[in-house]
Each structure stands twice: as C-alpha cells, then as structure tokens.
C-alpha cells in the first residue's frame, strides 16, 4: 500500500520560494530545508515530499539529513522558539536557576511545546556569548546576564 501526501498550496509556495533562492541542486538541501523549517516552524511530511519532488532526491535521504541536524525539526513547534544555552560557562554563572525559572513560567520541559502552541523550549549548544551568561535566545533576540527574576518580564514581550 502506498500513501500519497499532497502538499498544501502553502507548503508548495514556501518550498518553491526556498528553491528559487537557493537553487535546485543537491547542495541546496540544507539551506532549503532550513528555510522551509523557518517559514513553517517545522518540516511536515508534505514538505519532504515537495522538496524531494522538486530536487529529485528521495524523501528518505531528505529525512536522513533533517534528522541529523539539531535545528531542523520534524515535529510541530511553537510560535516562538526559546533556546537556552546549557554549556559550562552559562552553567557556572547561574544558568540552572534561569532554566528552572523558564520551565516553571512555561510549564514545559526541554524539547516540548506549550499546549497553546505559543512556546517551544529547547536546550542549545554554546551560543558563544559566554561573557554575558546566562544567555537565552528567543527567536532571533539574544538576552544576556539573565536572572530568574527577569524571565517573566522577558516572556511578556512576546505576544
């Protein structure tokens, strides 16, 4: 039995835009998947089918690539992605307390998405801004020297 997954017009247009920007070549796979991931929040099955069809690459190979990289997600994610640096330099300056405050404020654990679909909480590797640790990144905004007290106030900035 075969199941066919038809891409929705939205997925199709996102994939087409990404391929138009990066080219329809094998080397464009990671940039294209990254862009689709960013536009849709994650990589749904129909996105793989559509990218595979346009780049003429088997879906299995695309999935193999996507599952390798931390930043490509095959599961739906929240509207805002919170990345928390778990590396040693942030850890020793109070990162753990900030992490606990984040978990408490959001009511979710690492890798999880809040029930209302607003937040996804992720651990990330070193962000290289160790001089101002502890550090969290929400979408593309970097917050340094974060204290547990500031967490609710920072989260409130996102609607």
């Amino acid at each position: 039995m075969t199941t066919t997954v038809e891409a929705t017009p939205q997925v199709r247009s996102v994939v087409e835009a990404a391929i138009a920007r990066h080219g329809a070549t094998r080397e464009a796979v990671v940039p294209v998947l990254s862009e689709v991931n960013q536009a849709l929040g994650y990589l749904p099955p129909e996105a793989f089918v559509e990218v595979g069809r346009q780049l003429r690459i088997p879906v299995s190979q695309l999935f193999s690539v996507a599952s390798f990289y931390q930043m490509l997600s095959t599961k739906p994610r929240g509207q805002h992605i919170i990345q928390f640096c778990e590396s040693a330099p942030c850890h020793v300056v109070g990162g753990r307390q900030v992490w606990n405050a984040l978990k408490e404020a959001l009511g979710i654990g690492p890798g999880e998405t809040s029930a209302d679909g607003k937040w996804t909480l992720q651990m990330t590797s070193c962000l290289g801004v160790c001089a101002v640790g502890p550090v969290i990144v929400i979408d593309a905004d970097i917050y340094g020297n974060v204290t547990p007290k500031q967490v609710p106030e920072i989260l409130a900035r996102y609607s």
Partner: protein
C-alpha cells in the same frame, strides 16, 4: 585652497532640524562673523552625529569635541570659549558613555594582538575602516608582486599552523592543494566554532570580517581556486550578517569577483549556514554538510587537499588561520616567525573562562607559559583561592595540574602533557572543583555530540559516561579505573575522526594527573572537593543558634528543630542542594 584652523560639522538630520538645528547654524555663522572668525572657522552641515535625542549637536575638529543639546542662546558663549579663548566649553560636552566590553578588554602587557587587532576598533560594516588599517594591501601585494609559489613559500616560512586545533602547517596544506591537478579547486573557511565557551572566531567574524575574506582570497590565489565557502554555525546570526555585508562591499570594490584588482585572477565566495551539529567542525563532516548531506566525517586520507568538496582539491582552514594571513604577507614571514617557539610560531587567541579574575578573549604569543596567562593576563584566581587545574583545548582537551604552570603553551608541549591546543578554550579551575565531575561533564557533551557513525565513539563514549556517572553517584567499583583506561586506549586508536580520537582526553588527562581523586571516590566513597552529591552529606554543627533560616529555606523540608535549639538534617530526605549552607549566617553547616 582656503585654510581653516577649525571645522565645525553641525548635524542637520530631520530630528535635529525639528529641534532647531538651522537656527543654531545661522546663529553660529552670525556669531563667527561678528567675532571676525569666519575666515578661520569653516561651518559645514552633516547628517546625524550622535544620538538624535542629544541634538542639535555639532562636532568640532581638529579637537573632535562633540557639543550636544545646543540652543541659539548658547552660541555666543560657545564661540567665545572655544574659538576665541581656545578651551573646550565643558558644559555642552556630551558626558562620555561608559561602554564596557565584557568580551575583549584592553590588551595586557603580555598580550600581542594580531588577529584581534581591529576588533572593537573599526566599524566591521564599513570596508573603508578596514582599508584604513592597511586592509587589502596584502591582497594587492600578492596579486601584483608575488607568484602563487612565493605566497606559499611565505606562509611556510612564517610557520603558521592551523588554528582550528590540530596545528597542521598552513603553508604545507596550501602546497598540497596547489600540487593537486584536478579542477576546479575550492577554498573553505571553517567558522563552525562549536567548543562550549570558545568565541574567538565569532568575535573576529563580527569585528573584523574583511581580514578573514582577505586571507581567503590570498589562499585562493595561492592554490588556484575560483570559489570559496565560509561555513558558519547557525548559532552565530550576527556573524553571518556581518560576513554577508562584508562580502557585498568587497564585491562592490572589485576585491571579490571577476578579475580582482585588474590582475586577471577571479574568485568569489558565499556563506553557508550550519544547522546545529558540533561534529560539522570536523573538515570532512563540514564538506559533507556543504554538499547537502548528513554532516558525518569520513576517513582520511584522501585529505581534502586532494579530494574535498565534490571530490575536488579543497583547502580548509579556520577563521583565525585566515585572519593571520594578511598580516603575514604585509609584515613578512620573519616578523611572524619572530614570535613563538621553534615549532609553534606567532600568536594564539584564547577564550578565558572559569575561576579567574578577568575572563574573556586574549591573544598571546605562543610559548608563553601557563602561569603568565593565569596570573598576569587573567589576573589570578578569584577570591584568592588556589589553582587546581587548567583545562585547555575544548571538550576534547585535557586538564593540566599546577605542576604544568611553568611549561610553555605550544603544540608540542601540550601534546606531551596529554592535551591539545584545540581552537582556544581555556578554563581555569580552582580548588573547589572535582576533577571526576569535570571529566563526567565533558564526557556528557562528547557523548551528546557524537554523530554515531562509528562504533568506538558512539558506544564507547556512552560506556565511559555511565562509569563516570556511577563513580560520581558514589557507586564506583574496583576495576572502574582500569576499564576507563582500556576504553580510553580503544576509543582513541579506533575512532574515525578527531572527535572520537580526542574523546578520551578529558578522562585520560584527569586519570593521569588527578588519579587520587578517582580513588577517593571509588574506594573511600569520598569526594575531596565536596562536589559530587552522591558522596557528600550536610550536617549542622554545635554553633547552630536555632534561627530556623535553614529549615525555612530547605526545599524538601529535610531540616527539623525548635527555635533556639540545635537543628538536624535528615540525610535520607536531603537532596544536597546546598541552599542551607548559603543561607546560614553562622557557618554552622558543614559538608562532609
């Protein structure tokens, strides 16, 4: 041409105009005329100078004095003070903003800044700033006066070794890539700086991107490449943006693209962004990632210089290596080789972290000893504590004890001591650090980042981590040390890439230099640094006043006692969080 002794630039951006900039400008001209100074002082209009909120404002040269918040009524006084009496009218001078750079301070006397020379000093988004600091002069020299062979000879003579960690001589790499016959050839800059706590390359990319581009163009000319890639990790969005701006500006100036500086040599490059995989810092994994595949390493040889990107000759160096190149070309190989030791030339950047007074980026000549770095450059150990170890080389590096403080920092000495230069992470640890816990910490990282392609690294690091976790939990067994040693040897010799081969370093180096700590954990069930929670207990001493602070703060209610009576901690309920120690005002809680 008329000669003016002073030039005044008045800001006339829309906001300043709204606040009366033109009126101030007119008043200034009138006042200069009435004081008879109009032939000595030139008044010009310019766009925004400072913060719009501080306008109307003006800049006076040659003194570079910035007057802010001016009104028409201020002008007579200002003209009299500054232009007649020749002294700065202090009340209109903008108070200097205190901007502290927490990453990169002023260089200390033992530092030499080559790679970091422009960081924080020039505008990274303005190519003219870089050119004003001799930027792209090396490229001009190379394209007009040097053959590719001469460039490679210069690099060989400089003794520059790969700053990504392995330390392979850059000139030799270029030589191999040049000698490879296949075409086209490629240049790759490895900007996948993934070691936790290391951000030297990010700072260079964000602060002086053109030095990296220039180094890459020179390398491309030397090996005969027409295309290049900068592989930058996705965690560095600012670096990616700065690089893209730099590339555009270099193209606009004819420093990238067709027929560079009219020499007939063409080269162009683009930025590729990673997608979150530590192992992509390994060059063959990085190449696989650019090709659009899983970023898994492959065995070498063939080395990328022979068969790299799309099986074509490819030269891969990291950010710091390329950033050194223009200076070497410009100031000569002998200048560069004049710094460092016999086999390790030049300078190296490090990201200092841990228990020292000054953390952040430093750049020191190789051959400097660790004591100078810790005590002179980093200002010594925090809170007057004793140094226990220096961890150098990133997660695949090793820990060196105090006895190594007087050994020079160079590739050979570090290898001899059981660690690596690595990309430049340097963590200083004081006496309160447990070395078994540190080994466990690094092994957790390595285990997490192992790509899983080869068995020794995938399975071996997990087995090591499990043993270390057991030891830290107080469940160490006789034979654990021997098993760890065996695993170290096997993983080192049978793993495919540098990640697996270096994976045992945190364990083997601590086993060599701090074996007694492992033994204390396993045989005496004791953590000498009082860190490992499975091996410590908290007890309340007789000097407890019964103030109840500890009992009220204990998150698990493990402390009991009446007011003004000695309190007691129930060791079975205690989770060893240490909060009671922090809140006790009488130092009445002891960790055993």
């Amino acid at each position: 041409m008329k000669y003016y002794r002073s030039h005044v630039l008045v800001s006339v951006d829309p906001e300043c105009i709204a606040k009366g900039a033109y009126e101030v400008l007119d008043a200034l001209n009138d006042e200069l005329v009435s004081q008879g100074l109009i032939d000595e002082v030139q008044v010009l209009e310019t766009s925004r100078i400072g913060e719009p909120s501080s306008g109307p404002d003006m800049m006076v040269y040659p003194e570079s004095v910035h007057y802010v918040g001016l009104t028409v009524d201020d002008i007579p006084f200002l003209v009299e003070e500054h232009f007649l009496k020749g002294r700065v009218a202090k009340k209109f001078v903008e108070p200097p903003k205190v901007i502290t750079d927490e990453e990169l301070g002023a260089p200390t006397s033992k530092e030499v800044r080559v790679v970091l020379r422009n960081c924080g000093r020039i505008d990274p988004e303005n190519i003219d700033d870089y050119i004003a600091e001799d930027g792209y002069q090396a490229l001009g020299k190379v394209l007009s006066d040097m053959t590719p062979e001469q460039v490679i000879d210069e690099m060989l003579a400089s003794g520059l070794r790969g700053r990504g960690g392995a330390g392979f001589p850059a000139g030799r790499k270029w030589q191999f890539a040049r000698a490879s016959k296949a075409t086209p050839k490629f240049i790759i800059c490895n900007a996948d700086e993934g070691d936790p706590g290391a951000f030297m390359n990010r700072r260079v990319l964000e602060g002086d991107p053109h030095s990296v581009l220039e180094g890459m163009i020179v390398a491309a000319y030397a090996i005969g490449a027409a295309r290049g890639y900068i592989y930058c990790r996705a965690e560095y969005p600012v670096a990616v943006r700065t690089l893209r701006i730099a590339i555009q500006q270099a193209r606009a100036y004819g420093l990238l693209g067709e027929n560079i500086l009219g020499s007939g040599f063409s080269f162009d490059l683009e930025v590729r962004i990673g997608a979150g995989a530590f192992v992509c810092g390994e060059e063959t994994a990085l190449i696989a990632s650019i090709e659009g595949r899983r970023g898994e390493p492959r065995p070498r040889p063939p080395f990328p210089a022979v068969s790299g990107l799309w099986a074509r000759p490819t030269n891969v160096n990291n950010v710091e290596t390329y950033a050194n190149v223009p200076q070497i070309i410009l100031r000569g190989a002998s200048w560069y080789a004049g710094m460092g030791t016999e086999k390790s030339k030049g300078t190296k950047t490090f990201a200092l972290a841990g228990d020292v007074n000054h953390t952040g980026l430093i750049e020191v000549p190789l051959g400097i000893n660790m004591r100078e770095v810790v005590y002179d450059v980093a200002g010594g150990i925090k809170d007057g504590k004793k140094l226990k170890a220096v961890q150098i080389g990133g997660p695949m590096g090793g820990c060196l004890p105090e006895a190594f403080l007087d050994r020079p920092i160079d590739y050979e000495s570090l290898a001899e001591a059981g660690t690596i230069m690595g990309s430049g992470g340097l963590v200083v640890m004081d006496e309160d650090t447990c070395m078994v816990d540190i080994a466990r910490f690094f092994m957790e990282f390595i285990q997490d980042e192992s790509c899983g392609k080869c068995t020794p690294c995938r399975v071996g690091t997990r087995r090591m981590l499990e043993i270390l976790q057991r030891i830290c939990n107080g469940e160490g067994r006789d034979g654990d040390i021997e098993t760890l040693e065996m695993l170290c040897g096997q993983i080192r010799t049978t793993s495919l890439c540098g990640l697996g081969q270096g994976a045992p370093n945190p364990v083997s180096s601590t086993l060599t230099h701090f074996r007694h700590e492992y033994e204390a954990h396993i045989y005496e069930k004791r953590c000498p640094a009082k860190v490992c929670k499975g091996l410590i207990r908290f007890d309340i001493l007789d000097n407890c006043t019964g103030c109840t602070v500890c009992a009220r703060n204990c998150p698990v209610n493990a402390i009991t006692g009446q007011r003004r009576q000695l309190h007691v901690i129930d060791p079975n309920m205690c989770v060893r969080c240490g909060i009671c120690v922090q809140v006790c005002n009488f130092n009445a809680i002891e960790i055993r």
